[in-house]
Amino acid sequence: VTDPPSSQLAELLAYMTRIELDPDRLRAFLSVVGKADAVAALHSALDRVPRGTRRLALARELHAFDPEAVEGFARNGDDCARHVVAEHRYVATGDVEALAAALRDGWPLEPAAVERGLQDAGAFDATLLAALVQKLGLGAAGYRQASTLAKRVADLAPDLRGTLAFPRLNVALLGEVTVDYVRPLLEAALLEAGILATVRGGAFGELEQAVLDQSSWLAGFAPDVVVVVGSTLALPDGPAREEFARRRAELAALVTERLGSDVLVTNLEALPTHTGPGGAPAWVVRQNALLAEALPERAHVFDLASLVAEIGVDRWFDLRLWSVARQATALHATPVLADRLARAIRSLVEPPVKLIVTDLDNVLWGGTVAEVGADGVQLGGNELGEAHLRLQELLRECIAMGFLVAVCSKNTEEAARSPFVSRPEMLLGLDDFAAFEASFLPKSVQLPEVVERLNLGLQSVLFLDDEPHERAEMRDRHPEVRVPEWPEDGIVGLPTLLARTGWLTRFRVTAADELRGKMVRDETTRQTLRATYANLGDFLGSLDLVARVTPIGAANIDRVTQLVQKTNQFNLTTPRYSRRELEERIADGAYTAAVEVEDRYGPYGLTGALVAGRHGDTLAVDLWLMSCRVMGKTVELAMFEHLLQYARTAGIETIEARYRPTDKNGAIASLLPDLGFELAGEDAEGHVYRFAVKREALRANLHVTLVDELTGSPA
């Protein structure tokens, strides 16, 4: 407590970072220890905390003490550190390139950078400004910070705001409570949600009057959306309580009729006195149920009750403010209220999600089915397995509500289907899906075909994938597709995150929707995917794929050994060399290649290896493997090209290779013939193929820039 030794500080900090990381507490902690202790403790914590917002927070703190260290992490490929360096550079120097980089990488922007950005915004183009305002981070901000940001947003020059290609919206707040505190925050939160809104509010208590009075502010304002903001606090004891739902329904009908607006109506939240063992009084429960049924067409419930439950009653209310100003929430609850109202308003005006497209491996089940087999994938049994089942449950509920669900998976059709057939724990069955695509085509090529076949548009799609590359590719290629960021606690947090996005709430099921879902699922003759190779070529060409080939050596042999031990799908003969065996092959003078792949969405790391031994004028391929993460990107052609160049310079006449079929490597059965190899026979080790080096390889299909690390230039 008084003078702990550094090692214990590091322990304490690491412990703090494991449970939660409140930035204020972290700063308080760091401010009472000396600089050396702070740096040591942060380094030690960074050693243990994986990629995520906690790591981001630690890197920000370390940057304040020791910027060089954070720059070092960034150089070593730590993208949290890279983000911190970029945002700090922008705050310190105003370098717009740094801001653009920090906005691109997906991490939240620190408030100081957001504030400076809003001040510098006059010099930004519309794309950068749009990216900036969508990173305000209001939902997680404190009240004071949120208010400051809202002020800066409101201060943006009108012609500057006008450059944003956002939909315009007028939003009116009718409050049975004060709406003055949430109003400016809501305007900013709507901007963050991609909507350029003007939000106006009436005096509190002014509901029906404002709608009925032809000369009121409301009539002239012509709102697109009217939000009726109430609170259980505003319902005094008496008969008015039992009239709540009916009165709101009548008000909503009046608004849609007179003003032609869509309407959101808050329901009744539990008060602090409603949260003992007895729960909420019967009238609250009853009125909420009635409200949901009584609202007319184009009027929707905003579920304030569940928001208060999520945040916690004790945090939500500050009853003093109710007494003094008829303000129904604590001020620190207003940013999250504004954030959720903005999402609800957005879901009223944006095209509804109709199709949920999901990945399979590590989404519907745990593990990679092509690696572990249908019997090996995880379903139930522990926290992770149960989370996969919980997601399946959520998708089943969505199907019952009228959503279509489809699969896009990078797998063989057979592997992708197997768990549905052989695992009784699966809650979803093959006939639940409107479409089932399993191939190694890029998902951004697969998806439009699926969507077209179902007669939908890409703007109706919600895309679920645990791979950051797949999400980045989809966002980049099809910005209209909604792609939720993966939660930090992974699949465990996904069902909750999906519920909070608001994307799965709006859909109102009609009889026609239900029927359509059923018709699509019953379609027995599924059209197989027309492999649009013209599209594919364009796609691969635009990825800026780079394959860096280096000999296997001390710098990479650990990673290569790991790949040799665990790669099953793209592995010609699946030899499980040990590290020592690999070292012996290197010492023997064999051709060895380790391949690192990178594209415009970032690095994939070391993902391929090839070893070939020389026997006279023949080069025999003993090992050729690639991680499934880079399959379908023509990296194998680049590897073959490199091998061929070596063969030519080394005076090799024939390249010999074997394919030994296993349960897992069926996807590459035709690799060697596709490359131009000819079948020469079969032996105990598999099918033997030969390639005459004088022949031309299939260079035309190569979409990868090959870089030979020996010469440092494109080979």
């Binding site: 004071r144 505190y181 009853l319 403010l321 007494s323 003094v324 100003a325 001020l331």
Partner: protein, 83 residues
């Protein structure tokens, strides 16, 4: 930083006036924008700054800036400096 300066910074922040000058006899009528809305904003920001809580009746009874310092003093926050 003195208590007075910390309070002044909060006023400057709420009224968006970096050079805000604070006087003890200052009332809401003397400051543009000091309406009931910003009154609450000031009080909540001051509560958070000094980690204190006031009662609703106390908040409503404040007549001028001097009263505010008196109220802070009643919570052990004096003009001398940070508690």
């Amino acid at each position: 930083v003195s208590t007075r300066e910390r309070v002044r910074v909060i006023f400057a922040d709420v009224f968006d006036a970096p050079d805000f000058e604070l006087r003890d006899d200052m009332t809401a009528d003397d400051v543009e924008g000091w309406d009931s809305l910003n009154h609450i904003n000031l009080i909540i920001a001051i509560e958070n700054e000094f980690a204190v809580q006031f009662e609703g009746t106390e908040i409503a009874a404040l007549a001028n800036v001097g009263d505010l310092f008196a109220l802070l003093a009643s919570r052990g926050v004096t003009n001398g400096g940070a508690p």
